[in-house]
């Protein structure tokens, strides 16, 4: 794969060869560089692979992220990306391979990092849709605590549970998610699985909005990945076997409808929502259809905050 290396080093040279003088006039690049430098110094530093201030792995982490900036300058560097690269670099132990694997991973999740956060909002709405089908009482409870938007799951979805599980467990979890099996959007079912295992703790707690977020954030590093995956798969099987699944849920999970001729379960999440009857919650699967009923943020938010400034 000589060409992949050539291509990588060509792009690496692009930012490497920017002089100080030039960078002074390029605030965007300067901003990305300084943020990358600061994030690299605090990403997985307790992991042996990244320990110590003179660790060469830190340089690689930095260089691959900088090169990704040049590769996708419109997106640039967004916090959370260092979390996504770190395990990949750890596994590949090779700069060029790590870059291309990371670029591939980013193909799946780059929408998460876009300014509008539309993709994140959509996924939270989809998660709410699944949860509504799987566990209406839990949904009602969360609604009553102004947490129905599931905004406390933001970090889970943004960086695919990277902060929630131990490093080795993240490797396993991601490998499963990358297979696209048993269904697309399986990461949403992983989230449902975790919420399912916490339902008693949440519902019997008397928690309000803040405490729910705190409880969820504090699950970090306390969960078992095998158990979580089994739970998620069980939920998938339960949904797949369900005779009356709303059309939008079927599409989200790539399930062909039983009533003939529906699309096969192809991996990438569907990009068009069918006109079939949908659950009233409407996690619209189609791209940026403005849908005022998607409540992903704390409901206290004023309407102006929902649409980003022009």
């Amino acid at each position: 794969m000589v060409w992949a290396g050539d291509e990588y080093f060509r792009m690496k040279l692009q930012w490497k060869s920017v002089s100080e003088e030039q960078e002074r006039r390029n605030s965007l690049l300067r901003g990305y560089r300084s943020l990358i430098e600061r994030d690299v110094s605090r990403t997985d530093r307790s992991n042996k692979f990244y320990q110590g201030s003179e660790n060469p792995a830190l340089v690689l982490l930095h260089d691959v992220l900088m090169t990704y900036c040049v590769y996708n300058f419109d997106l640039g560097y967004v916090q959370g990306m260092s979390d996504l690269l770190s395990p990949i670099l750890y596994v590949t132990q090779n700069e060029v391979d790590a870059f291309w694997c990371f670029a591939g991973f980013m193909e799946l999740v780059h929408h998460n990092f876009e300014e509008s956060q539309e993709s994140m909002k959509r996924q939270l709405a989809q998660l709410a849709l699944l949860l509504r089908v799987l566990d209406p009482p839990l949904c009602d409870f969360l609604d009553s605590k102004e947490s129905g938007s599931l905004c406390f799951c933001f970090r889970w979805l943004l960086i695919w549970f990277k902060r929630e599980f131990a490093f080795e467990d993240v490797l396993q979890l991601w490998e499963v998610l990358w297979t696209g099996l048993p269904c697309p959007s399986f990461h949403l079912l992983v989230a449902c699985g975790i919420l399912d295992s916490e339902r008693e703790a949440l519902m019997n707690s008397g928690f309000g909005f803040s405490e729910i977020l705190k409880h969820i954030n504090e699950l970090t590093m306390k969960m078992n990945v095998e158990e979580t995956l089994s739970r998620a798969e069980a939920l998938y099987r339960q949904l797949a076997a369900s005779p009356e699944l709303p059309r939008n849920v079927q599409e989200l999970l790539g399930l062909g409808g039983p009533a003939g001729g529906s699309p096969p379960a192809t991996p990438p999440p569907p990009h068009s929502a069918g006109p079939a009857p949908e659950l009233e919650l409407m996690g619209s699967v189609s791209p940026p259809q403005p849908d005022s009923s998607i409540e992903i943020l704390p409901p206290e938010e004023p309407p102006t905050a929902r649409s980003p400034p022009p």
Binding site: F154, R155, E300, P302, R306
Partner: protein, 213 residues
């Protein structure tokens, strides 16, 4: 069983990435300093009781936010339910100081016509040799916006208690005077259960703070 508190105040901590928001909050709520802390993505939540006068406790709910602009559309949803805020910059990073104005504008737009009581915090004051912002100019800026200014260090535990406690006291005074009132549907200030102490402002005022929505 939870200790009795007079009021609950919700505070938000904002400022550029890497100015030390999470470290400051952790020092305050957990009493420790983490040499390395993951970049905050989204929003974290912490809480702690402070005693502003003997026997008078305030429960603080503190929202820690991601500093990077890209996450604003998520974090700004939390401004509105905050009564107070710590606006941090890093005294060794001039840029973070220059952005203070932008942060104030950003919050102002999203809580109008109400206000968040901010304190301006010059953080990492243990790194005085690398200082890029003088105390004088920071004080001047703070005064121009009607804020107090304080310099803190999470590493050396300098002024961390004071930053939070002073802000809490100021808000408490405003609540006591009735300048800030408890409103239904607004989480910024909540009343606790304290027998025999009733301030006029403790009565729920329904005149709607949510009028903008």
């Amino acid at each position: 069983m939870e200790a009795i508190w007079l009021y609950q105040f919700r505070l938000i901590v904002i400022g550029d990435s890497t100015v030390g928001k999470s470290c400051l909050i952790r020092r305050f709520t957990e009493g420790r300093f983490a040499q390395v802390s993951d970049p905050t993505v989204g929003v974290d939540f912490f809480s702690r009781l402070v005693e502003i006068e003997p026997g008078k406790r305030i429960k603080l709910q503190i929202w820690d936010t991601a500093g990077q602009e890209r996450f604003r559309s998520i974090t700004r949803a939390y401004y509105r339910n905050s009564v107070g805020g710590l606006l941090l910059f890093d005294i060794t990073n001039r840029r973070s100081f220059q952005n203070v104005h932008e942060w104030l504008e950003e919050t102002k737009v999203h809580v109008q016509p109400y206000q968040i009581v901010f304190v301006l915090v010059g953080h990492k004051c243990d790194l005085d040799t690398q200082r890029q912002v003088t105390r004088h100019e920071a004080e001047k800026l703070a005064a121009a916006y009607g804020m107090k200014y304080i310099e803190t260090s999470a590493r050396d535990a300098i002024n961390v208690e004071k930053a939070f406690t002073d802000l809490t006291r100021d808000i408490y005074e405003l609540v006591k005077r009735g300048d800030i009132s408890i409103q239904e549907g607004w989480e910024g200030v909540k009343s606790g259960f304290v027998p025999n102490v009733v301030h006029s402002s403790e009565e729920v005022v329904k005149s709607d703070r949510r009028c903008l929505c």
